[in-house]
Amino acid sequence: MKVILKFLKKVGFIILSLAVGLILWQAFTTYSDIPSFIFPTPFDVWEKFLSVARDGSLLFHTLVTLQEVLLGLTLGLGAATLTGYLLAKSRTVERVLSPYIVASQSIPIVAIAPLLVIWLGPGIFSKILTSALIVFFPVLVNTIVGIRSVPVELYELMRSLQANHWQRIIKLEIPAALPVFLGGLRIGATLAVIGAVVGEFVGADKGLGFLVNVGRGLYDTSLVFVSVFTLVILALGLYGSVVFLESRLLSWKKRE
């Protein structure tokens, strides 16, 4: 009962806060005389949503982007976890690679996304790669921090118990690094969406980023809004999934 009440309270707050936002938005578009092709009303956007939802195109493009995002996330996650583990374990590897990693983090992905399209073609791979690239850094950093935060005493314990390499990874490092790692994944999940969209912006004929471009090309700002909102919801959904994962895997931390 209490849990349900608490949940309702939380949801209530979100709904309240969204309602306030909607009202402000409606008021803004009503009392300023901005034309709807520059800033549509909530009602315009809702109508557009119904229309693209009904003809199935919204679902289609959403699934395309979702696929890119999930594959990009998987790829970025895998690469970052492996590299992160190596970097956390070896100072030498870290020294050789870290200039590139810090530099790569400061390259605007928008500047290199076209190169990826050239190299990988206009298909899904270039989007997966932009997505993976943008996911890489935060996950990498948190993997390193996570592994380095494993208490030395627990390493000593494992050593004194004569644990082998794999047992150390599975029974100690993974569970101990998980909280920090999942924190990186939270950020990574939303970034993955942004990465896929950047890839789609450069050149694509499907996906929500493409739909944004279509809306812009047709002066259909409502379509732009519907697409952007869908992207936000996608990102929030992924974020929520990670939070859910956290609540499952880190239930031992819940009561902190």
Binding site: E153, M158, S160, Q162, K171, L172, W252, K253, R255
Partner: protein, 256 residues
């Protein structure tokens, strides 16, 4: 239970010396200590901070190799962590994501003991240390005294011959500490282990041990090897007897 020659001492420390060396220079932590320990003895080691007590435990447990000299367990030299030695650290050193039961089964899991068997052994020990009913609790929900009980149970689960304790009650308050001491004696009597325990507290050492080793600081030297001939079982009131007071004063002088 044990095929080796029982006349020979369980543990022999021969001209042990330890020097730590790092970038900043080197530091002699222990300077030629020799002693030996008979089976089923309860030994306490006292000494001020920095006298190399923890270093000694690390050597005995095989986590650290001696710089000079050697240590023999059952006649064979200790070179790395091995079966038959249980360790309890100052911090209980439990895995926060594992329940009480799971923390205690950990050493058996690492030895690939079937989980059923591991659990039944662990339950036995949980009863021994007085934690029945707390099997599924997480470390964060336990008090300091309870945490140390779990750590002790974990160190016993492989049925080691030798139990090494590095200031196991250092983090506990005076009252809890006294209770835990009595508890440890009870377990020691029930299981008939050889125990080497480090402590800051001279009164605690005399109360618990058959023999107290006093170490002087920097580099650690064995100053006094004191036999405690007080009758067992001992009681709180014994602390105020002239013999008890005499022994503590002897030790106090040795390490100051």
């Amino acid at each position: 239970m044990n095929s080796v020659n029982n006349q020979q001492p369980l543990l022999e420390v021969k001209k042990l010396g330890v020097t730590y060396t790092d970038e900043k220079g080197s530091l002699q932590a222990i300077n030629e200590i020799s002693f030996s320990v008979e089976r089923e003895q309860f030994i306490c080691v006292v000494g001020p901070s920095g006298s190399g007590k923890s270093t000694l435990i690390r050597i005995l447990s095989g986590l650290l190799a001696p710089t000079t000299g050697a240590v023999f367990l059952d006649g064979s030299e200790i070179k790395k962590p091995r079966q038959g030695v249980g360790i309890v650290f100052q911090k209980a050193n439990l895995m926060p994501w594992r329940s009480v039961l799971r923390n205690i089964t950990l050493p058996l899991e690492i030895k690939s003991v079937p989980i059923k068997e591991a659990e039944s052994k662990a339950r036995e020990l949980i009863e021994l240390v007085g934690l029945k009913g707390f099997e599924d609790w997480l470390p964060q929900d336990l008090s300091g005294g309870m945490l140390q009980r779990v750590a002790i149970a974990r160190s016993l689960v492989q049925d080691p011959e030798l139990l090494l304790l590095d200031e196991p009650f250092g983090a506990l308050d005076a009252l809890t500490r006294e209770k835990m001491g009595a508890e440890l004696l009870r377990i020691w009597r029930a299981r008939k282990k050889t125990v080497i325990m480090i402590t800051h507290d001279i009164s605690e050492a005399v109360f618990l041990a058959d023999r107290v080793l006093a170490i002087s600081p920097q580099p650690g030297n064995l100053r006094l090897d004191l036999k405690v001939d007080l009758e067992r079982p001992r009681h709180e009131e014994d602390r105020f007897t002239p013999e008890f007071v005499g022994l503590t004063q002897q030790l106090r002088e040795a390490i100051e």
